[in-house]
């Protein structure tokens, strides 16, 4: 394999954006997984599909409409969930199917725009522009700063809402904040792995990292490392062998997950 691919500027953009997205998805995903909200990323991604279709129909840059639609639906679903006491998985199911349904109807009305939709469904990391890269990096920076500043509040309200409330943490606001950040993260990440595989980035590196039995920060760092490894290796391999990056990235992270389970079942992961 030649290292010449590392000199292409589209490859630089892909790798830089990929690493940023890997970090972002691991961090936000860890909170979602621990809140038993693993499929929430998936649900927002599917609702953003409706947003993308809307953008294509209206002739607006589809990611903008995707941001709008997924943030609004994420906030609505959280409100509905709170107000009517609907379980997490049921609310996810509703959001997931309505997003796809809206998208399909819009595609039907417009007579179809297959090429564009395809790149959103499966990602197009090698096509990210300079502007996309800047957007991805800025959002990653902002969200990471928010997470670092509110680390204690985010962890505490994820651990136990009731106790967090007694300690004076504004749990409801924190819940909305997490959902809001998850919405931003999902749409930003669509370019990497597409709508269909987003939740893999949210969930798989985190469940892998949790198996190592470490504390919160180390678990987050492990998850980020696994995620970066899968994304970078996945992008390179997929380019060299001309296969889809999204699938390769996700398969690699599943490989790490399976490997960890293997190590663990052989008893090599001691309990601390």
């Amino acid at each position: 394999m030649s290292f010449e691919i590392l000199s292409f500027s589209f490859m630089h953009r892909a790798l830089i954006s990929g690493v940023a997205i890997a970090i972002l998805c691991s961090v936000i995903g860890l909170f979602l997984v621990l809140r038993r909200y693993s499929l929430f990323g998936d649900a927002i991604a599917h609702s953003s599909f409706g947003g993308i279709a809307l953008g294509l129909l209206a002739g607006v840059y589809p990611l903008w409409t995707a941001y709008g639609v997924s943030l609004v639906s994420a906030l609505i679903i959280t409100r509905v969930k709170e107000k009517f006491n609907i379980s997490g998985d049921a609310s996810v199911a509703v959001l997931l199917s309505s997003g796809i349904a809206v998208g399909l109807v819009i595609i039907g009305i417009s007579g179809g725009f297959t090429i564009d939709i395809f790149s959103f469904l499966f990602g197009s990391i090698l096509l990210v522009s300079v502007n996309d890269t800047i957007l991805i990096l800025s959002l990653t920076g902002i969200i990471l700063i928010v997470v670092l500043v509110l680390y204690r509040q985010l962890l505490y309200s994820t651990f136990n809402e009731e106790q967090a409330k007694v300690s004076g943490i504004p749990v409801e606001k924190i819940n909305y904040l997490i959902v809001f950040m998850a919405g931003l993260t999902v749409v930003t990440s669509i370019q990497l792995v597409g709508v269909l595989l987003i939740s893999a980035l949210f969930v798989i590196p985190n469940v892998t990292a949790i198996m190592y039995g470490k504390g919160f920060k180390q678990t987050a760092i492990l998850s980020i490392s696994f995620s970066i490894f899968s994304v970078v290796t996945g992008i390179l391999i997929s380019y060299v062998f001309d296969i889809t990056p999204a699938g390769t990235i996700v398969l690699l992270s599943i490989g790490l997950f399976a490997g960890t389970m293997g190590i663990k079942s052989m008893g090599l992961l001691s309990k601390n």
């Binding site: 962890l155 007694v166 198996m211 039995g213 504390g215 678990t219």
Partner: protein, 239 residues
């Protein structure tokens, strides 16, 4: 000085009235044991006192302030819940948990001291899911103590803990109350435990049927018998 004043507190759930016209006060430095059988309303009382339940009639005051007006009193309270519920594989160590409620980055020494005092300093890098019930309980007490609370509230802390851990736990509570002058309010359905520790007793079973010095309670055979019968009835009710 009264640190807690509860006046005519009534809490209704859709199906039951959990608390009915409960009034009592707690003075600074008191060690109050709230005894009552399962379903007596102990956890409901605490949840309401801690601001987790806003649907109540009556008045609750901490440090002379109505809790409906300000939540500032929560800063002065350490709370140890009845059963700390969490996922078995939650990726948090003892250290993570204890620091979670730390409001100001106070000095490391203070946290070290608390961990030592509670005999959990050697566990600080262990995941909480690996701990025994007694160890876990001390972790949650440590967590409740990191902000130097004036009042410590514990909900049935000795349920499901082995005797050795109970003895350790009792000596820790005694020390907190006598040396550090922390007011302690704890609930239990175990009369003996309360008799060993508390200097004040409140007997709760939806209504409050005794509140006063613990000697006055335990010296009064009629009251003790009454309580025992109430809890026996409840016991049979459940089986």
């Amino acid at each position: 000085m009264n640190v807690v004043e509860i006046e005519h507190l009534t809490v209704k759930y859709p199906d039951v009235k959990a608390l009915d016209d409960v009034s009592f006060t707690v003075k600074e430095g008191d060690f109050l044991g709230i005894i009552g059988p399962n379903g007596a309303g102990k956890s409901t009382l605490f949840a309401t006192m801690l601001g987790l339940n806003n649907k109540y009639d009556g008045i609750i005051k901490f440090f002379g302030q109505d809790i409906r007006k300000s939540k500032d009193y929560l800063k002065e309270i350490g709370y140890v819940p009845q059963k700390p519920i969490f996922e078995k594989n939650f990726p948090a160590t003892v250290n993570d948990i204890v620091r979670m409620s730390l409001r100001k980055e106070s000095n490391e020494k203070k946290i070290d001291e608390i961990l030592q005092q509670l005999w959990i300093h050697e566990l600080s890098n262990r995941r909480i899911g690996e701990l025994s019930g007694g160890q876990l309980q001390r972790v949650f007490i440590a967590k409740a103590l990191v902000n130097n609370p004036k009042i410590l509230i514990l909900d049935e802390p000795v349920t499901g803990i082995d005797q050795q851990n109970i003895d350790l736990f009792f000596s820790i509570l005694r020390e907190l109350n006598s040396k550090q002058k922390i007011t302690i309010i704890w609930s239990s359905h175990d009369l003996d435990a309360v008799n060993q520790l508390a200097n004040h007793v409140a007997c709760l079973n939806r209504t409050l049927f005794f509140h006063g010095e613990s000697d006055d309670f335990f010296d009064n055979d009629e009251l003790v018998k009454q309580y025992s019968e109430a809890s026996m009835q409840e016991h049979m009710h459940h089986h």
